[in-house]
């Protein structure tokens, strides 16, 4: 087969979804709650999922069980505090969804992004 220099497949999903959302005039993403849970959906303290939090997989710093649990789960219904139960979750967030978690810490914002890019119609950096 002749060698080509073009991508074999260029399939976009997030781009298409975001374009559709913006064209529909809706600028906000759906929100999904993130919890730390075991395979049965028992909600655990976040620290169970934060340890050993690395790229490419879910494991709990020596506690990794079958299927990468305990781990972060997204969406579903049920409580959010440790000891409660979540049902109908997924292991990855829905494309384009904003992920919500509980906070409570002292957080400063606005310390980056103070400059827009150029004065053109589109913006952009070059």
């Amino acid at each position: 087969m002749k060698e080509t220099k073009k991508s074999r497949v260029v399939s976009v999903s997030l781009l298409a979804a975001m374009a559709a959302t913006m064209l529909a005039g809706c600028g906000s993403n759906p929100r999904q709650v993130r919890r730390c849970a075991d395979e049965q959906g028992n909600v655990l303290p976040d620290t169970n999922c934060e340890r050993g939090y690395v790229g490419g997989g879910y494991y709990g710093g020596g506690m990794m069980g079958r299927g990468g649990y305990p781990g972060w789960v997204y969406g579903g219904s049920g409580g959010t505090t440790p000891g409660s139960r979540v049902m109908g979750f997924t292991k990855t967030p829905t494309a384009g969804a904003d992920v919500v978690t509980s906070g409570g810490r002292v957080i400063s914002r606005g310390g980056l992004g103070g400059r827009s890019s150029g004065g053109g119609f589109f913006g952009g950096f070059g």
């Binding site: 999903s13 992920v99 978690t101 957080i107 400063s108 980056l112 992004g113 890019s117």
Partner: protein, 396 residues
């Protein structure tokens, strides 16, 4: 794309061809459905499929070879700047230097960069500049022109495996556990172009099975107690792609926190890219490789003995503050946005083809250190600014 300039016209003599073509029926909806919402500026098209550029296979080979060699030279130049401690000439803040050295040694993830080349097919491509930190027009190059080719010339080829290269790179970063975060955050400012560039990159990461989260740069939070960054939902940011220049970040309120966090937070592109994104690197490259067919003379601070040259700021973008001087007279000067607040690099004028008033500059994409494709943007004037039209290409 910030690029310079045209000097002598090659009209009628360039071997690269610009061909007129009828745009696809409903092209606006087609490109919008792929995420290109900014296809038309107020009074002119930005995505322009009324024409396309046609290259030969050997011309594509020339561009690929030039891009790979330029990338190799750029890496040597970074090592040279570190070894010879030439950061001050580039006006890189001293606080960044230890982190530039460290990330250079540790090789954290680096995705991409875009060379801007002057090329008409008759002479070797000439480097205009390297957008190594915050290159845009990725969506147009990697996705939109690929689909245009599939619709219009499915049997033809295109120098464009940019998307494939990105997905391959993300896959490698994931499978070899080079990412600190299970999810990767993507930061950008509140413009449509940057949103779409970042969304294209997010899409390529998600194709590799990586969860992604978008965030505006001004929403990034600093956790004073834990001394790490959080997103808008208080999720700790461990790996962040930022479409925001390093030199801007370091001047801002959280600039010191950014450097402090580098131990624990991956920033993509890494901070060592500040060296290559600085236009002073053009002068250092010329000093190191004066016989390279891909370079033209360049100097920091003065034009030396050149009589026809481009003057541009070390850290300008989209043609900001670029001037063209010929025989001592200013032939062109872009409006300044902030005055002449920084040093300049002076680069000899390059020949850019002129196709009946259309001046194309080749954006040549380096993905994971390898030349993976091109996009063409053309201007009416001598400087490629943020309104330069993107025109698809093919080769036969």
């Amino acid at each position: 794309m910030a690029g310079p300039p045209a000097a002598d016209s090659l009209a009628g003599s360039a071997s690269v061809r610009r061909r007129a073509i009828a745009p696809r029926q409903g092209w606006e909806q087609k490109v919008e459905s792929l995420g290109l919402l900014f296809h038309t500026a107020p009074d002119q098209p930005y995505w322009n499929e009324n024409a396309y550029y046609e290259f030969s296979a050997s011309e594509v080979d020339v561009l690929e070879r030039a891009s790979n060699q330029l990338h190799a030279m750029c890496l040597e130049a970074v090592q040279h700047v570190i070894d010879k401690d030439r950061f001050a000439e580039l006006h890189i803040p001293p606080t960044a230097i230890p982190w530039i050295k460290r990330t250079w040694e540790e090789e954290p993830p680096s995705l991409y960069g875009r060379f801007d080349l002057a090329y008409g097919g008759q002479a070797e491509p000439k480097l205009l500049e390297y957008n190594a930190d915050t290159p845009t027009s990725l969506l147009e190059a990697a996705v939109i022109q690929w689909h245009w080719l599939q619709d219009c010339f499915p049997q033809a080829d295109q120098f464009n495996s940019i998307w494939e290269g990105l997905v391959e790179l993300w896959t490698e970063l994931k499978t070899e556990r080079h990412l600190k975060g299970t999810a990767v955050h993507f930061g950008h400012v509140r413009t449509i172009e940057d949103l779409m560039t970042v969304t294209a990159l997010r899409d390529s990461a998600e194709q590799a099975g990586i969860a992604t989260l978008g965030i505006h740069m001004d929403e990034i939070g600093w956790d004073e107690q834990n001394r790490w960054f959080l997103d808008n939902d208080d999720i700790r940011i461990r790996t962040l792609f930022k479409l925001y220049p390093w030199e801007w970040m370091l001047e801002e309120k959280f600039g010191g926190n950014v450097l402090e966090s580098l131990e624990h937070t991956q920033w993509i592109e890494p901070v060592w890219k500040m060296v290559l994104a600085n236009k002073g690197i053009l002068a250092i490259l010329w000093e190191m490789f004066p016989t390279s067919p891909y370079l033209v003379p360049a100097h920091i601070g003065s034009p030396a003995s050149m009589s026809h040259y481009v003057k541009k700021p070390l850290c300008g973008r989209e043609g900001e503050e670029v001037s063209i001087i010929r025989n001592g007279a200013v032939e062109f000067s872009a409006a300044t946005t902030e005055g002449e607040s920084q040093p300049f690099v002076f680069q000899e004028l390059c020949n850019i083809p002129d196709f009946e008033g259309n001046r194309p500059v080749i954006g040549s994409w380096i993905i994971d250190g390898v030349s993976r494709g091109i996009g063409v943007r053309e201007s009416d004037g001598p400087v490629t600014d943020d309104l330069a039209r993107f025109v698809p290409h093919l080769f036969r």
